[in-house]
């Protein structure tokens, strides 16, 4: 049974390696076009590719993390087509035997099946001066040519743009846990196949969507467009992130024939499954279980923290120095609220972990109040500040001097006799009124709990 919307993704994640997939050129660095190149990635006659072991290891680990059937060997193939961005007019990829097959990712209780995972080389980038078709020529930059990519192909199990985004986020999380992907350096791109019930599931393929934010937008746009305009035949479209719309590239009539052969320059590489298993880090599922068991977090807290690389990372650092439940509460509650407010995605947050932890420590030792901590956090989210000296400088330290608190309380009681008598007659809420007065006097630096205790003591005398 097909749903209203049927989406399948082909994701290309650039793997985090120092050198390219088949040569020693650096994958990152010099931006001047055609400088990070050599005879191999330019396809010079006589040059030969040699597979990058690190890239293979990343991909094999990813296959395991995606619960794929892991191939015994990595076997490369040549995919032939003529295009100016291909140095050899064939791309080295995998065909018959991909490194992983039949895997899955679970997102909010739903399973998205992974059809295959394979390794391939990135083609060069093409620069269209003034936009596609405008200049009458293109420029080709081979700096990227040969960078290692993992291609992850899903079954058409995704039912909405939100699910697509969630899937991509979950995939990025896995990649980051594995150390196979660094969002500050590596690019993740997706092609999406999408069809809707109303048009009889005629399929459009949207090419080149960069990042998980864009994927939701692109798919939302395309669903609306298909509902509105309909779709005549199989279309290939491109996503223009700037304009926020998809554009027709071509109507597909026939499947292209890539004439695959095994790449005879590359010998099969054995995959040492047991060795790799030893190197596999703790993945979200296991983490979630450990968080509930070891740190006594709620299921919900554990799922959210474990499901996001950056949150898990900051949480695990925090529990070395503070109470886990406090850390979890502040990360899930306040930290996410502040990030949300600043429209920073958790995967992209750059908060100073050490400073965040010292904030938690100050809280735990009651040196600052919740209210103060919230304010500091708001600042810390956008600005790298030293929490301790900031507290000192701004005189934000909690008033822990009991004599001061008592003084403020006595004053407040004297000033709010009506409220005092209301409280005495059973209106508990009246105490909050007096509390508010004390907090104002302390400039928000008194611990409300402490104040309440003191007030009760004084009133009941």
């Amino acid at each position: 049974m097909k749903g209203e919307v049927v989406i399948g993704l082909e994701v290309h994640a650039e793997l985090n390696t120092e050198s390219k997939l088949f040569c020693a050129c650096p994958t990152q660095g010099e931006e001047e076009p055609n400088t990070r190149t050599c005879p191999v990635c330019l396809g010079h006659p006589g040059s030969k590719p040699v597979a990058n072991k690190k890239a293979v290891e990343h991909a094999a680990k990813l296959a395991m993390a995606l619960n794929c059937r892991l191939a015994k060997q990595v076997i490369f193939s040549r995919k032939s087509y003529f295009y100016p961005d291909l140095a050899k007019n064939y791309q080295i990829t995998q065909y018959e035997v991909p490194i992983g097959e039949n895997g899955s990712i679970d997102i909010s209780g739903k399973r998205i099946r992974i059809k295959r995972l394979h390794i391939e080389e990135d083609p060069a980038s093409m620069i269209h001066p003034g936009g596609i078709g405008k200049a009458g020529y293109v420029l080709v930059d081979y700096n990227r040519s040969g960078n290692p990519l993992a291609e992850i192909v899903t079954e058409p199990d995704i039912a909405s743009p939100e699910e697509a985004r969630e899937f991509l986020k979950a995939l990025i999380t896995l990649l980051r846990y594995l150390g196979a992907f660094d969002p500050s350096k590596n690019i993740i791109k997706a092609d999406a196949n999408i069809s809707i019930k109303e048009t009889g599931y005629k399929r459009a393929e949207i090419k080149n969507i960069t990042g998980f934010r864009e994927i939701e937008k692109a798919l939302e746009y395309e669903i609306a467009r298909q509902k509105h305009e309909g779709i005549s035949s199989q279309e290939t479209r491109s996503w223009d992130a700037e304009k926020g719309m998809t554009q027709l590239l071509r109507k597909k009539e026939t499947e292209e024939d890539y004439g695959y052969i095994f790449d005879p320059d590359l010998v099969p590489i054995d995959i040492e499954r047991e060795e790799l298993e030893k190197k596999l880090p703790e993945l979200p599922d296991k983490k979630r279980r450990r968080y509930t068991k070891e740190y006594r977090l709620s299921e919900d807290d554990a799922r959210i923290l474990a499901g996001e690389f950056s949150l898990a990372q900051i949480f695990e650092k925090a529990v070395e120095k503070t109470r886990p439940v406090l850390a979890a509460r502040w990360i899930r509650g306040e930290l996410m609220r502040v990030l949300n407010y600043n429209k920073i995605d958790t995967s992209e947050m750059k908060i100073n972990q050490a400073q965040f932890i010292s904030l938690l420590q100050l809280l735990e030792k009651k040196k600052i109040t919740d209210a103060t901590a919230q304010k500091i956090l708001e600042k810390l989210a956008v600005d790298d500040i030293d929490v301790e000296s900031y507290v000192k400088k701004e005189k934000l330290g909690a008033v822990s001097d009991l004599r001061m608190i008592e003084k403020y309380c006595r004053e407040a009681i004297a000033e709010n006799l009506q409220a005092v008598s209301d409280y005495k007659s059973g209106k508990d809420i009246a105490l909050n009124f007096i509390l508010g007065s004390v907090m104002r006097k302390s400039g928000g630096k008194a611990d409300p709990k402490e104040v309440k205790e003191t007030l009760k003591k004084l009133i009941n005398l």
């Binding site: 005879p39 330019l42 396809g43 010079h44 006659p45 006589g46 040059s47 030969k48 590719p49 040699v50 597979a51 040549r78 032939s80 003529f82 295009y83 100016p84 140095a87 050899k88 007019n89 064939y90 020529y137 024939d257 004439g259 695959y260 052969i261 095994f262 790449d263 005879p264 320059d265 590359l266 010998v267």
Partner: protein
């Protein structure tokens, strides 16, 4: 004078490498004007001969088949499409030759990208090399220039060459010289312009078996830049070992279609040696088909990069890229290049791929096993190197492409299966050389060389 003797004299000062190099170039040019063995002379060679390493090839003139990259020296695999291309690096084998003091004198003629058995499939506008014994006959191919020059040169010289399906054995046989094709993986292919990567092998041609041994010792060995090269300990080919060899002659190779003199000379060359007959039915029935299906599938992808964009022949880059690529390729690829690209593309098209390309891979595995079963019993397996003497150009003109491809019947087996083999002169017929092919198990080059020594 063989190479080792030449090097001794050069080191002792009896021979001056610079003068010798100049002389070699002069002689070669004279020969070349008649026989067309060179595509490019290295005019810097005398200058380079001034600063040579005092290695095991000190001062020795070395010619290089055009498809093997020599830094800064125009290298085009015999094809017009690479005209003007100067490699930016030396092939691994060339690095080793230079490190031993060898002098690169030029690039030798070949069939385009190795596509031929007679060296008549030359690049558009290039000349066909002629047999050193009879100018109306072919040198054999694809390494025709190398074999012709080795035979014709009066001065000591060795030729670095390459074989995919018989490109060393065939011309060595027709020109009456030694031609060694090592095991696939023995010599690094780094810097070799690909024909069929799963079968391409760099080897050597020389007049003397000791020269073969010396050069093989130098160019062999693991290279991390070619992942198909094997990491094995170096072998001392120059050290002679006295062994007894268990020898077999392949029955099919002495059957129909093989010239009488070729058979006779082979048996005479074996002399009193005891040998048995073995059979390779699968190899002789399906070897050629499997070889051409695999090699052309690979070749058609290898040649895709020659599109007039990054190197070699190009025109003003304009218009639609597809039309531009087609234009450059139509104009600069010869008929044989086009034929092989089309055949190879066909063999790997979906719908045909399983029946042709994939099936051929399976056949190759079976053929390797067929040889292996004999190598469990025999050290050496012998066949003629070519079924005939070098044909006349007028005869070649009459051959259909299929008849032409069938000429590889002797050489295709060991090439397809990656077994090392040596083509060795076995005698003469009508004034033309005949040859025998000595084949051994993978990485048993030493046995082949010692066996050839024993027959000398």
């Amino acid at each position: 004078m063989n190479a080792a003797e030449f090097v001794r004299q050069a080191k002792s000062g009896k021979i001056d490498p610079v003068k010798n190099t100049k002389k070699f170039l002069e002689e070669s040019k004279k020969i070349d004007s008649d026989y067309h063995y060179f595509l490019k002379f290295n005019e810097d060679a005398p200058k380079q001969a001034k600063e040579l390493k005092k290695g095991r090839l000190y001062g020795l003139p070395v010619s290089v088949k055009d498809c093997i990259c020599v830094k800064g020296l125009e290298s085009r695999a015999g094809s017009k499409i690479l005209e003007g291309y100067e490699p930016v690096f030396d092939a691994a084998a060339i690095e080793k030759i230079k490190a031993e003091g060898g002098v690169i004198v030029g690039k030798t003629a070949q069939d385009v990208f190795g596509f031929g058995s007679f060296n008549v499939n030359v690049g558009i506008g290039y000349k066909v090399p002629k047999n050193p014994f009879d100018k109306t006959r072919a040198t054999g191919g694809s390494s025709g220039g190398a074999a012709g020059m080795v035979q014709k040169s009066e001065l000591p010289h060795i030729a670095i060459s390459e074989s995919t399906g018989g490109s060393i054995a065939a011309p060595a046989c027709y020109c009456g010289v030694y031609g060694m094709t090592p095991t696939y993986g023995r010599v690094s292919r780094y810097g070799l312009m690909d024909y069929a990567n799963s079968m391409d092998k760099i080897g050597v041609m020389a007049k003397d078996i000791e020269d073969v041994a010396l050069v093989m010792e130098i160019i062999s060995g693991y290279d991390e830049r070619d992942s198909t090269s094997k990491d094995l300990p170096a072998e001392k080919y120059t050290e002679k070992s006295d062994s007894r060899f268990r020898v077999a002659v392949v029955k099919e190779s002495l059957g129909k279609g093989v010239e009488q003199d070729v058979k006779k000379n082979l048996i005479a060359k074996l002399g009193k040696l005891k040998y048995e007959e073995v059979s390779l039915p699968l190899t002789f029935r399906y070897g050629i088909q499997a070889y051409y299906l695999i090699s052309l599938s690979e070749a058609s992808t290898n040649l895709a990069k020659y599109c007039g964009m990054r190197y070699g022949k190009h025109e003003k880059l304009e218009g639609n890229f597809n039309e531009y690529f087609s234009g450059v390729r139509s104009k600069n690829f010869s008929k044989e290049e086009k034929r092989r690209i089309i055949l190879g593309t066909f063999a790997r098209m979906s719908g045909f791929r399983d029946a042709f390309y994939m099936k051929a891979l399976q056949v190759r595995t079976k053929i390797i096993e067929e040889y292996r079963q004999h190598f469990r019993k025999y050290d050496i397996v012998v066949t003629p190197a070519m079924p005939n003497i070098a044909p006349k150009f007028s005869e070649i003109d009459k051959m259909t492409p299929l008849e032409n491809y069938m000429m590889d019947i002797m050489t295709v087996g060991p090439n397809l299966a990656g077994f090392p083999h040596l083509s060795m002169p076995s005698g003469f017929s009508k004034g033309m050389p005949t040859g025998m092919l000595i084949i051994a198990d993978h990485f048993q080059e030493k046995k082949i060389i010692d066996f050839a020594r024993s027959l000398k």
